[in-house]
Amino acid sequence: MSEIKPTLKQRFDRWMIRHGRVLVIGLPYLWLFLFFLVPFLIVLKISFATAEYAQPPYSALFQWVDEGVNVAINFGNYLFLLSDSLYITAYLNSIRIAAISTVITLLIGYPMAYGIARAKGSTRNLLLMLVILPFWTSFLIRVYAWIGILDREGLINAALMGMHIISEPLIMRQTEFAVYIGIVYTYLPFMILPLYSTLEKMDGSLLEAALDLGCKPWKAFLKITLPLSMPGVLAGSLLVFIPAVGEFVIPELLGGPNTLMIGRTLWNEFFSNRDWPIASSVAIAMLIFLVVPIMYFQHIQGKTEEAGK
């Protein structure tokens, strides 16, 4: 009786079959743990500290004193956020601007996604390519380009004045309007792509069935296409809304001094005031503001996806 000894490769394959799954799932988790959860905990820790003129510029949370640990948790930063109307205004402003931008992006993105999904093979690929194309240029440069377009001496004003349509240049830059343009422009692909993927998957015979049952085309859209594309609408809206709330570059470059958004406040706390604890608590509060609705949406989305199976 001789036992067949597995070769090294066979042993490796068998090991992979048994443990491969853990490896595949484990790596991204490890990544997220190291580069998301750990920094988050550091920020959380700082948010409970007190600002100091020191290196680093905040007090230590845990101090080894004699034979024990001295824990000094400071909730003052969060209370301060509540007491100063600046922060609450900035939060509300951010949410308002992000929400309006999301709605505008949805209104523009939906017809585009619909058109792409209904286009024929090669045209469809070309259109998708065009949607993704702007990503090949740096985001910063594209926002700077908008300065050139919207500025007092920018392209639009030059063109309109050149054609004698206006005599005074329009003030477009450094307004909320410019912020909307910037956000909608930047985040449009994030709306189009998930919408496209749900619309493209939709069974065309459903629309035909609706027409066949006496439903006019626009009504069939409202009753069949729109409800069935809700997962895409939600996914796209979240992808636009979440980063738009914390957006810093666009309001900084295109917005005026009055465009108060939380991203800018955060920046100021960190770099102008050098108050790391306050800045950290602003960041944590924003996270909590956002995580709750996201979890709610994902819960709904999970339900509808289950129903769609």
Partner: protein, 387 residues
């Protein structure tokens, strides 16, 4: 006198159940030289077809034969390249799907996944603005008809394939369309369920009297259900008629082959006298005697179509049969329980298929491999095709 009246009555009865044999009958659906091109490809090529009220008409053919395109043109999903379609005397040109008196049952069923069974069925009625109570009643009636009342609140994804099929049927029937279009209605069901559902569909059709136009690739399904069948190939109708006519009197090798099993034997017409037409075939190595008139003159190439179940096998050469008797060896046996099929290699080298019902229980099979057998058939069993 009264006998004459009876005959008249009988004839009228035949005519009302077979309107296609009545020259005065008005067709309910009329395809007039209908052509549909996709690019350079003729999906449907100059098809003319009349379908009568209360018919269950089947368009039969393989994939890509144009049957589905024809159905979709009837529903209004495809524009005609040329020709006209009339439903109940009205030209359908430019009439959108949502204004046509047709409803369609889709192959995929196309149930709205976000609506319950009830809402799916009610969808069509809502479009026509019926009152809430009427919609409720009609939906309930229809769900009862297809035995789905219990599942009214379920969503499509909670139903089995057979149940979805019923909901799709209910949804397409609830508006009482003049014509119900069925695209491979039973294609997604397993065999047992399909057979059962075939008869249910026919019963429902008879109960409601709606005109059904059905597309299928399954000849058995078409023959079981349809009053008439049009066999299609490459965008044209090769033959139309009752299942009986198509099976017993095919007009081409294509139809003979498509419906059921057939042995096709090529030969030349050598003699056509009052009693027999004689077709000489090198393939079979002899003369085939036919007892009915044959189209063509002496020297014409013809094909003799022989159904396997019309052939008989004997272990010894029968004495009485002077005609149509050929010796050979059993090469393959397929035992199907109810009947057995034999592939017999004739002395000429031609392989011929014979099927015999197993009417008795024997201790062992009647024939076995390599048995010497004789294949015979009656002079009236064969049909002769000239294309």
């Amino acid at each position: 006198m009264s006998q004459g009246a009876n005959q008249q009555e009988a004839r009228e009865c035949v005519q009302s159940s077979q309107p296609w044999n009545d020259p005065d009958a008005v067709p309910f659906i009329r395809f007039e030289k209908v052509t549909k091109k996709f690019g350079d490809f003729y999906a449907v090529d100059d098809v003319s077809l009349d379908i009568y009220r209360h018919e269950l008409f089947a368009l039969l053919g393989g994939s890509g034969c144009g049957k589905t395109t024809l159905l979709r043109m009837l529903a209004g999903f495809e524009e005609l390249t040329d020709g006209k379609i009339f439903i109940d005397g009205v030209d359908m040109a430019g009439v959108p799907p949502y204004e046509r008196p047709t409803n369609m049952m889709f192959q995929s069923y196309a149930l709205f996944p976000h609506m319950s069974v009830e809402t799916n069925v009610a969808f069509g009625l809502h479009q026509d603005g019926y009152s809430k109570s009427e919609i409720k009643d009609r939906v309930a009636d229809m769900l009862a008809l297809v035995q789905m009342s219990k599942f009214a609140k379920r969503k499509p994804h909670q139903l089995s394939g057979g149940q979805r099929q019923r909901v799709a049927l209910a949804r397409s029937l609830v508006k009482q369309p003049k014509v119900l279009l069925l695209d491979e209605p039973l294609g997604a069901l397993d065999k047992k369920l399909r057979e059962q559902t075939q008869f249910e569909l026919v019963n429902i059709q008879e109960k409601l009297g709606t005109t059904f136009v059905m597309v299928t690739h399954d000849q058995e399904e078409a023959m079981t259900m349809a009053s008439r069948i049009a066999v299609m190939n490459e965008g044209v109708i090769k033959q139309k008629g009752t299942p009986f006519e198509l099976y017993e009197y095919p007009n081409s090798r294509f139809t003979a082959n498509f419906l059921g099993q057939v042995n096709l034997i090529e030969g030349t017409l050598v003699d056509d006298d009052e009693k027999y037409a004689i077709i000489r075939s090198d393939d079979i190595g002899g003369d085939i005697y036919i007892d009915h008139a044959v189209q063509g003159h002496e020297g014409t190439t013809l094909w003799v179509a022989l159904r396997p179940e019309r052939l008989r096998l004997c272990t010894e050469k029968p004495e009485d049969s002077a005609h149509n008797c050929f010796g050979g060896k059993v090469e393959e046996i397929g035992y199907l329980g109810g009947l057995s099929t034999y592939h017999v290699r004739l002395d000429s080298g031609l392989r011929i298929k014979v099927s015999e019902p197993n009417t008795h229980r024997h201790n062992e099979p009647r024939y076995t491999w390599e048995d010497r057998v004789w294949v015979t058939w009656e002079t009236g069993s064969a049909s002769v095709l000239n294309q």
